[in-house]
C-alpha cells in the first residue's frame, strides 16, 4: 500500500508539474515573434526594390514590437496560405491587411482592428459607373441603406469583367452582391489584377480603396478612376486586425494593448497618411 501511495503521489506531482509548466509557458510573455505578411499588397505590405518587405503594415509591426518589447522577424507568405501556415505554427502573427470576419474568427483570433479601409471599384473614367457620380460610404449591416445602392449600381456595372483577389472578403462581396451581373475574374495577388487592368483584360477592379488609389496613381492607369460608393462591415467584418492562433491569448492581449496605444498617440494615423495617403485609423 505504501508503494502504491508513493507512486500515486509521485504521479500527482508529475501531473501538477506538467500543468504548472504549461500554465507558466502560456503566461510567459514571448520575447521574440515572427510576423507574416503577404508582401504583394502595396502600399499596405509589399516587397521593396531591395527585396525587403515594406509598407504601412511593416512600419506598424515594427512600431508595435517596440512597444511590446519583443524582437520581430517579418516573413513573407502567399495570401492563400497565411491562415493554414499560422495554425501549423510557421509563424505567430499575420499582419497582411486581413479583415476580421466571423468566418476567420472560427479558425483564428484577431487583435482589435488597427485600420478600417472601405472597399470600392476602379473603372475607366468613361464607364457608366464613373459617370453616374455615385459616392458615399455604406455599412453593409445596414440593409435598408446599402441594398438600394447596390441595386442602383447593378445596371451600371452589368457585363463588366471585374478583377479581384481570390480568397478575400472583396471576392466574397462580389460573389454575394454581383454574382451573375458581372464577370468575376479571380487573381492570386492584386499585382496580377493590376497588370490585367493595364492590359485591358478586365474592365474594372474591386479592392480596398487605399490600395486601388495607390495603383491608379501610376501613369499607365491614367484612364481609370475610383468610382461608386464605398462599402464597409457586413462581409468585410470589423476592419483590419492582426491574426493569431486561438491559444496565444497572452500575445493577443499584448497586441491589443500596443495597438490601443499606437492609435492613442497618433502613430497609426501618421503611418497611414505616410503610406496610404488617407487616415484609416479605427475609432478608439
Amino acid at each position: 500500500m505504501k508503494t502504491i501511495g508513493k507512486l500515486a503521489s509521485l504521479a500527482a506531482l508529475t501531473i501538477s508539474a506538467l500543468m504548472w509548466g504549461a500554465a507558466a509557458s502560456a503566461e510567459d510573455r514571448p520575447t521574440a515573434i515572427t510576423i507574416a505578411t503577404e508582401g504583394a499588397y502595396a502600399p499596405w505590405n509589399f516587397t521593396g526594390p531591395d527585396g525587403k518587405p515594406a509598407g504601412f503594415e511593416i512600419d506598424l509591426a515594427n512600431d508595435l514590437c517596440a512597444r511590446m518589447k519583443v524582437t520581430c522577424t517579418i516573413v513573407l507568405q502567399d495570401w492563400d496560405g497565411l491562415i493554414p501556415a499560422l495554425n501549423v505554427g510557421k509563424f505567430d502573427v499575420i499582419m497582411a491587411s486581413m479583415f476580421i470576419t466571423d468566418k476567420r474568427l472560427e479558425i483564428i483570433n484577431f487583435s482589435r482592428p488597427y485600420a478600417i479601409d472601405p472597399s470600392t471599384f476602379a473603372v475607366a473614367k468613361t464607364s457608366a459607373l464613373a459617370k453616374a457620380g455615385m459616392d458615399g460610404e455604406y455599412d453593409l449591416n445596414d440593409e435598408a441603406a446599402a441594398a438600394p445602392v447596390i441595386e442602383k449600381m447593378k445596371p451600371l456595372v452589368k457585363g463588366l469583367a471585374v478583377g479581384v483577389q481570390a480568397a478575400t472578403t472583396n471576392q466574397q462581396f462580389l460573389k454575394k452582391y454581383f454574382d451573375g451581373v458581372i464577370d468575376i475574374r479571380e487573381y492570386k495577388t492584386t499585382e496580377q489584377h493590376d497588370l490585367d487592368l493595364a492590359a485591358g483584360r478586365v474592365d474594372a477592379l474591386f479592392a480596398q480603396s487605399t490600395a486601388l488609389a495607390a495603383t491608379l496613381g501610376k501613369p499607365e492607369y491614367s484612364a481609370y478612376t475610383l468610382a461608386g460608393p464605398k462599402f464597409i462591415k457586413g462581409v468585410f467584418g470589423r476592419g483590419t486586425g492582426a491574426g493569431m492562433r486561438k491559444k496565444d491569448t497572452t500575445l493577443l492581449a499584448m497586441f491589443n494593448e500596443a495597438i490601443g496605444s499606437a492609435i492613442a498617440d497618433g502613430t497609426v494615423k501618421r503611418l497611414s497618411l505616410k503610406w496610404l495617403k488617407a487616415d484609416v485609423t479605427p475609432p478608439q
Partner: protein, 243 residues
C-alpha cells in the same frame, strides 16, 4: 472524417473537370501534331530547321511551365497595342487561349524529343526492305517508319500526357477555375486545405489511372508480335488430345 463535407467538395471540384479535360485534351492533341511535324523535319536534317527546332525544344524543356504560362499571359499582356495592331489581341486577351498556347508549346517540345527517339529507333532493315519493295520515301514513312516509331514512343508519350493533365493545374494562376482553381477557392472559404487537396488529388489520380489503362490497352493492341504465343494445345478435351 466529415463525409458530407467531402461529398460536397467532390461535387464542386468535379464542376471544374470539363475545363481540365478541355485544357489537357486540346493541348495534347495540338502538341502531338506539332511534335510530329517538328520531329519529322528534324529527320530531314536541314541545318537551319534543325537548329531552330533544337532552340525551341531547349527553351521550352528548360524553363518551368509555370513561368511559360505567366510570361505568355501577363508578359504578352504588356504588348497590347502591338498585338492589337496585328489582330492577335482577341486571342491573347482570353486566359483560356493563353493557357492552351503555353501548354501546347510545352508539350510539343517534349513530344518532339520523344518522337525523335521513336523515329531513330526504327530498325534500318525494315526501311531497306520497304524501299526494296519499291515504296516511295513518303510511303515508307507513312506505312513503315511512322507506325513503328509511334509504337516505340507510346510509353514515354503516355508519361507526357499524364504530365500535361497535371500541368493544367498551373493554369489557375491565369484565373482559370479548373479543378485546382476550384480547390483553392474552397480552401479560401473553409481553410481546410488537407481534405480539399486530398479530394482534388483523388480526381487527378482517377483521371490519370484511366489514361494509363487506355495507353496500356493501345500498347497491347499495337504490339501483338511482342506477346507470348497463346497456347493452342487444348489440355482437357479428350477429342483434341486424340487428334
Amino acid at each position: 472524417m466529415d463525409i458530407a463535407f467531402l461529398a460536397d467538395v467532390f461535387r464542386r471540384l468535379l464542376s471544374g473537370l470539363p475545363l481540365t479535360l478541355k485544357l489537357a485534351g486540346t493541348s495534347v492533341a495540338l502538341g502531338l501534331l506539332i511534335a510530329l511535324a517538328l520531329a519529322t523535319t528534324l529527320q530531314g536534317g536541314r541545318p537551319l530547321f534543325v537548329w531552330l527546332i533544337r532552340g525551341f525544344v531547349a527553351a521550352f524543356r528548360g524553363t518551368p511551365l509555370l513561368a511559360q504560362i505567366f510570361l505568355i499571359y501577363y508578359g504578352l499582356g504588356q504588348f497590347r497595342p502591338f498585338l492589337q495592331d496585328i489582330g492577335l489581341w482577341s486571342f491573347f486577351r482570353e486566359p483560356f487561349w493563353c493557357a492552351i498556347l503555353a501548354l501546347t508549346l510545352n508539350t510539343s517540345a517534349y513530344g518532339t524529343e520523344i518522337i525523335r527517339g521513336g523515329l531513330q529507333s526504327v530498325p534500318l532493315g525494315q526501311i531497306e526492305a520497304a524501299r526494296a519493295c519499291g515504296m516511295s520515301p513518303w510511303l515508307v514513312y507513312r506505312r513503315i517508319t511512322l507506325p513503328i516509331a509511334l509504337r516505340q514512343a507510346l510509353p514515354s508519350y503516355g508519361n507526357e500526357i499524364i504530365l500535361m493533365i497535371k500541368g493544367t493545374s498551373l493554369t489557375s494562376i491565369v484565373t482559370l477555375t479548373e479543378v485546382t482553381g476550384i480547390a483553392e477557392q474552397i480552401i479560401s472559404q473553409t481553410y481546410r486545405a488537407i481534405e480539399v487537396f486530398a479530394c482534388a488529388s483523388a480526381i487527378y489520380l482517377a483521371l490519370n489511372f484511366i489514361v494509363t489503362r487506355l495507353i496500356g490497352w493501345l500498347e497491347r493492341r499495337l504490339s501483338p508480335h511482342l506477346r507470348t504465343a497463346p497456347n493452342l494445345m487444348p489440355s482437357s478435351s479428350p477429342r483434341g488430345a486424340s487428334a
